[in-house]
């Protein structure tokens, strides 16, 4: 049962979030590239730095953080509503009477699914973001594709990729556990369910941003 539920959650979180991850990250990458084109214009910084900057911005910060914030909105509210709805419709009571450990049955598959899926989503996000940057360069008159690709290949630090996955796992844990907590302990009716769903998103995003800062200090040094 746990396995089946975990697979269902992986599908919901993973496949269900691909489209939004794709759209947001394509534009994030493109905007990052456009902004750096603007900032680097008229300077003596080599043109190929644009690829290097987009790549490292994406891997170190944007892919994990932006994707997690998007997931806090999409998946976090979904989880809080799902579990909260089950609480209100007495599904959780029914399971408890059967002897099911409800906190484990309802929370664990979601946490495990998120831990398994979020590294993949963040990898995809990074790919799309860099792709978005590349498209912005293609549309630019002053920068060539070769500049961008040379930048992508320059100054690569493998640890940055590890950092991206560490962040993704921490953020995934945060957003899932906060959403589950808000849903599991919901009381009242549909208004309270809506409030719990909102809290799941707001608290999730705030805690992700705090964790982002702490991880940056811990992993990069401040």
């Amino acid at each position: 049962m746990y396995y089946k539920e975990t697979v269902r959650q992986m599908y919901d979180i993973g496949i269900g979030s691909l489209m939004i991850i794709f759209v947001v990250n394509i534009f994030i990458g493109a905007v990052t590239a456009v902004q750096f084109i603007y900032q680097l214009s008229g300077t003596f910084i080599p043109k190929y730095y644009i690829g290097y900057i987009v790549r490292d911005m994406t891997i170190i910060e944007l892919a994990a953080t932006f994707s997690s914030i998007i997931l806090a909105g999409k998946v976090g509210s979904n989880i809080a509503s799902e579990i909260g709805g089950m609480r209100q419709k007495e599904h959780i009571d029914a399971m408890e009477i059967m002897g099911v450990n409800t906190s484990s049955y309802l929370v664990l598959p979601k946490l495990v699914a998120m831990m398994l899926v979020i590294p993949i989503l963040v990898s995809v996000a990074a790919l799309f973001s860099i792709g978005g940057g590349f498209m912005a360069i293609m549309a630019s008159d002053n920068y060539s594709n070769e500049d961008f690709i040379q930048g992508l290949r320059s100054f690569f630090v493998p640890w940055n990729v590890s950092m991206m996955y560490i962040k993704a796992l921490v953020f995934g844990y945060i957003l899932t556990s906060i959403a589950c907590y808000q849903g599991y302990f919901v009381k009242g009716g549909s208004i309270e369910l809506g409030q719990a769903s909102t809290r799941a998103v707001v608290f999730g995003i705030i805690v992700i941003l705090i964790a982002d800062y702490l991880l940056a200090v811990l992993l990069i040094g401040g």
Partner: protein, 255 residues
């Protein structure tokens, strides 16, 4: 048999149950009745262990529900079935998956054994062949029966039903009552039904507990209801002028 001993329950300053003593008998349909706000649902939730009482004890035969070690409590839970007021069927699962759920969680039955038991339970509630339908695709009365099928799938010793007739037409309500009563007798289980449906009281009430303002106001059975002088009972059962007329007619009719 389930025994409630001196049950008190408060929520903040509000005392909902004030010392309930009652024995719910085996192989009988035991009813908890009373006006809205009398404490019926709270008592039922204490009896199944969803709420802890502020004071008092609940015994399942000789086992004190709130003093059982975790492992024994889990064993006991597997002997309990419950039908919820809103059915509490899992929307994302088919009827078959809903009924199979307790077996998937707690038994090592083979797939064929589970299938056989699901089919048996669906036949027991007169709903063969709806295995693959989702709860949203069947009527309220059918959902109740699926809820009953899920509640009895592990052959429970104790069956609870919270307002099983709410939202049903009178004929379907009678069908549900008869089904619960038949299951109780056939399986010799202790059934406790929380209701304010007068048909249920008069048809299947073999052991009735009337709650009023958190206290036990009357106990008896359906045969004693008509003759009983207890004012709270009479005001509750024969609340409408129509029923009062019927009662007067029934009592005035010569044997």
């Amino acid at each position: 048999m389930i025994t409630a001993k001196n049950i008190f329950k408060s929520f903040g300053d509000q005392e909902v149950l004030k010392g309930i003593d009652f024995t719910f008998e085996k192989a009988k349909t035991n009813l908890i009745i009373g006006k809205s706000g009398a404490g019926k649902t709270v008592l039922l939730k204490i009896l199944v262990g969803l709420f802890d009482p502020t004071d008092g004890e609940v015994f399942y035969d000789d086992n004190n529900l709130f003093a059982l070690p975790k492992r024994d409590l889990l064993q006991l839970r597997m002997k309990v079935g419950m039908l919820f007021q809103g059915n509490a069927l899992f929307d994302s699962m088919t009827v078959e998956e809903n009924i199979r759920f307790p077996m998937d969680m707690f038994t090592k039955f083979s797939k064929a054994e589970k299938q056989k038991q699901v089919d048996h339970c669906l036949e027991r509630v007169s709903l063969p062949g709806i295995n693959k339908k989702y709860p949203s695709e069947i009527s309220g009365g059918m959902q109740k029966r699926v809820g009953i099928a899920r509640a009895i799938v592990l052959n429970p010793k104790y069956l609870f039903a919270d307002e099983p007739n709410s939202g049903l037409d009178p004929k379907t309500a009678i069908t549900i009552d008869e089904l619960l009563s038949d299951i109780t007798k056939d399986n010799k289980i202790t059934t406790i039904i929380n209701t304010h449906d007068m048909n249920s009281v008069m048809e299947i009430g073999e052991n009735i507990c009337l709650l009023h303002l958190g206290k036990l106001a009357w106990q008896g059975n359906k045969d004693q209801v008509l003759e009983e002088k207890n004012e709270i009972l009479q005001n509750f059962i024969f609340a409408s002028p129509f029923l009062q007329k019927l009662k007067a007619r029934a009592l005035s009719k010569p044997e």
